[in-house]
């Protein structure tokens, strides 16, 4: 065999290996999803969705968990988005290239890399102890807001950056002020992109358990939260709790809850992908 | 109307103004000749200055047009044609002036017999007709019309070719009238020139409308 034939063989071999690697993750994922569905889907029924938690696996439901997740979603959205979008606008449209803005950028990149559990510690000390809120919804939402804030800022900036300079020039040239330009032109034009990022951030928040555990969200909450000042649990914590129990019946419960959690996550991601796709189709600069 | 057409129209109008001026020179030249009208001749001579200023003005306008509009295709040919017609018009103006100067030297009108013999009036009228038809062809952008004008030149040439023999014969009979006869001969020569120049102008109109070069073609045919 000549050298060149050997090389070509190696090339082919790597190609096969490439396909293998590309699909291994997906195959594992598929196996896992199938396993979960087989294990959990039979457990899902109306009672499971509308029952309070219980010490007995067969009677336990996820009502409080998904209600808590919903509360957390809405509250974090209300807190994080105005802040994150405003910060993104400032950094992209207003900030001059100074040391301070440079520092702000590095800082945000750093925040995005801080492990979620550290945010938990921050929330524990800041909201639970110092502001004396206790392990309530508001404290959880505030903590998760801080967690997703860097994501919202970064995606907002990306979306705003995609709006061409010429649109701003056009607006300024008609006598619009900076804010008028941002409000009437830049934001509407980048709205789809911002929304996409915002939803992706939310889907991240939905899956978080660690920071909420740290701030003291309880696994066993026997009532549906009625206000932000109530104690709460969320789906990931419920899943974690059930997974840590030795009885097999609770694992089934966990699998069933995971199906619901994945549905929510995939739904959010699906919306984001759809929005991004539509945005790309709609506006070609 | 597109800007370039507006400018082109202005150029054409200017050329037509000049055309009218030269037309006046030619037409009055005939009367002046027939009546040996010195006063009218003087006026024709004076008009030459005006024609020259038109010539310069139109040259300048064409130059600007080239510089500012960088014309192509039909526009390019139009301006080229205008530029050349302008030159020819100026020369016809010169010719009219020249004829007027001969008239100035006459102390009485030409001998009617001589006029009759040389057919100078016929020639003059034919030249005038050509000149006016050419204007019409230009105004109407009509190349067919222009081709007919080129044919009209033949009649002029015919009269011109015979004229020296006719005048020589006449002068032999009337030796006392030699200056008069020579003046007429010069005028006939000049009229022949007018015919040639109008022919050139007609050729420019054909070139402008049809992008065909017709000048120098007849000569080739002759050679064959």
């Amino acid at each position: 065999m000549t050298n060149s034939e050997k090389n070509r063989l190696k090339d082919k071999a790597f190609q096969v290996f490439g396909v293998f690697c590309t699909f291994i993750g997906l195959v594992v994922l598929a196996i896992f999803l199938i396993d979960i569905v087989i294990e959990g889907v039979a457990r899902i029924d109306w009672d499971f969705l509308t029952s309070l938690p219980s010490r007995r696996a067969a009677r336990a439901g996820i009502l409080t968990a998904w209600a808590g997740t919903l509360w957390i979603l809405v509250l974090s959205a209300i807190i994080a988005f105005p802040l994150g979008i405003a910060a993104g606008i400032y950094l992209e449209e207003y900030a001059k290239k100074t040391k301070l803005s440079n520092f702000l950028e590095i800082n945000i990149a750093n925040l995005a890399g801080v492990p979620s559990i550290i945010y938990g510690l921050l929330g524990l000390e800041l909201f639970v102890r110092i502001m004396n809120l206790g392990g309530i919804l508001l404290a959880g939402a505030l903590t998760l807001s801080l967690l997703i804030l860097p994501i919202v800022i970064v995606t907002t900036r990306e979306a705003i950056k995609a709006v061409p300079r010429t649109i701003r020039d056009g607006s300024f040239a008609l006598g619009a002020s900076k804010w008028q330009t941002v409000w009437h032109q830049v934001l509407p034009a980048s709205f789809g992109g911002i929304l996409t990022g915002v939803i992706l951030a939310l889907s991240r928040a939905v899956g978080e358990a660690a920071p909420l555990i740290v701030i003291g969200a309880l696994a066993y909450v026997p009532f549906v939260p009625r206000s932000p000042m109530d104690e709460f649990t969320v789906l990931p914590i419920q899943i974690f709790n059930w997974t840590s129990r030795p009885q097999a019946a609770f694992l089934t419960n966990a699998a069933a809850a995971i199906i619901i959690l994945l549905l929510i996550t995939f739904l959010l991601n699906g919306i984001a992908v759809y929005l991004r796709h539509r945005q790309q189709k709609k506006i070609k600069w | 109307m597109p800007h370039i057409d507006v400018e082109l129209e202005r150029l054409r109008e200017k050329l037509l103004e000049m055309w009218d001026l030269v037309d006046y020179q030619l037409t009055s030249g005939r009367d002046a000749m027939m009546n040996a009208d010195h006063e009218l001749s003087q006026r024709i001579i004076k008009l030459e200055r005006k024609v020259n200023s038109f010539d310069i003005k139109i040259d300048r306008m064409c130059e600007n047009f080239f510089a500012l509009f960088t014309p192509v295709a039909v526009d390019l040919r139009a301006v080229l044609a205008i530029l050349k017609i302008n030159t020819n018009l100026e020369r016809i103006g010169d010719t009219a002036e020249g004829m007027a100067r001969f008239v100035c030297k006459l102390d009485r009108p030409f001998d009617p017999e001589l006029v009759e013999l040389t057919k100078v009036l016929v020639m003059y009228d034919e030249a005038l007709a050509m000149f006016r038809e050419c204007r019409t062809a230009f105004v109407k952008d009509d190349p067919k019309h222009a081709k007919q004008i080129i044919k009209m030149d033949k009649a002029l040439n015919k009269i011109y070719r015979k004229s020296d023999v006719v005048i020589a014969k006449y002068l032999q009979a009337n030796p006392d009238r030699i200056p008069e006869g020579l003046a007429l001969l010069s005028i006939i020569k000049k009229l022949e020139r007018v015919g040639d120049q109008v022919t050139n102008m007609a050729e420019e109109i054909i070139f402008y409308r049809e992008a065909k070069v017709v000048k120098h073609r007849r000569k080739k045919k002759k050679k064959e």
């Binding site: 001059k96 290239k97 061409p164 010429t166 649109i167 020039d169 056009g170 607006s171 300024f172 040239a173 008609l174 006598g175 619009a176 002020s177 008028q180 009437h184 032109q185 509407p188 034009a189 506006i283 070609k284 | 597109p2 800007h3 370039i4 130059e63 600007n64 510089a67 500012l68 509009f69 960088t70």
Partner: protein
Amino acid sequence: MTKKYSKLEAINLDAYYGDFHALKGINIAMEEKAVTAFIGPSGCGKSTFLRTFNRMNDYIDGFRIEGQILLDGRDIYEKDIRVDELRKEVGMVFQKPNPFPKSIYENVVYGLKIQGIKDKKILQEACETSLQQAAIWDEVKDKLDKSALALSGGQQQRLCIARALAIQPSVILMDEPASALDPISSAKIEELIYDLKKDYTIVIVTHNMQQAGRVSDHTAFFYMGELVEYAKTKTMFTSPKDTRTQNYITGRFG
């Protein structure tokens, strides 16, 4: 001959981007209701200069000017001049058509809306008038509520001109308005400029010498941040005084 009224004037104007000296001691006076063209090689400062007239350079970090720019005799860089008011007086059209991703109608009335005008009737009238002025009314009158992005490039640019006209400026700055368009659309824009000069003072930057020749009354040639020559376009294109101008307009630039 009486001296015509100077709408725009620059007096000893110097401009800098940081350390870079972009414009050097420019003096120029531009006639009212006429078209003045700025020509010159890339980077000669002509666009920078154009953008000083509506202070579009204000947002560029490190940009500063010395000297004066007068609009109707008033220095537009004075402290009490409001930039938004200035830009209502001095409209601008850009190189690439830049319609907002909104409806045609919204594009045209945008300038008025941000001034706080809400009366539907006024807006609609202004919309029709300016679209007619920009010679695009017949093409778009049936689809005013359609997205402006659906228009062709040439239509978009005329829409942008209509948008600039809607706020009733007296000066229109055009930064290579036809360079991104096909020849037919480009010709339409030129015709439009020719028509508009009856009512507006127009300053146009162009890379296209023929275009400068066709549309402008006066031409200014810039080179390396200097105003080399400023004259009637006819004069400049038939007998330029400076050899640099000669070389540039004949395409023999070394």
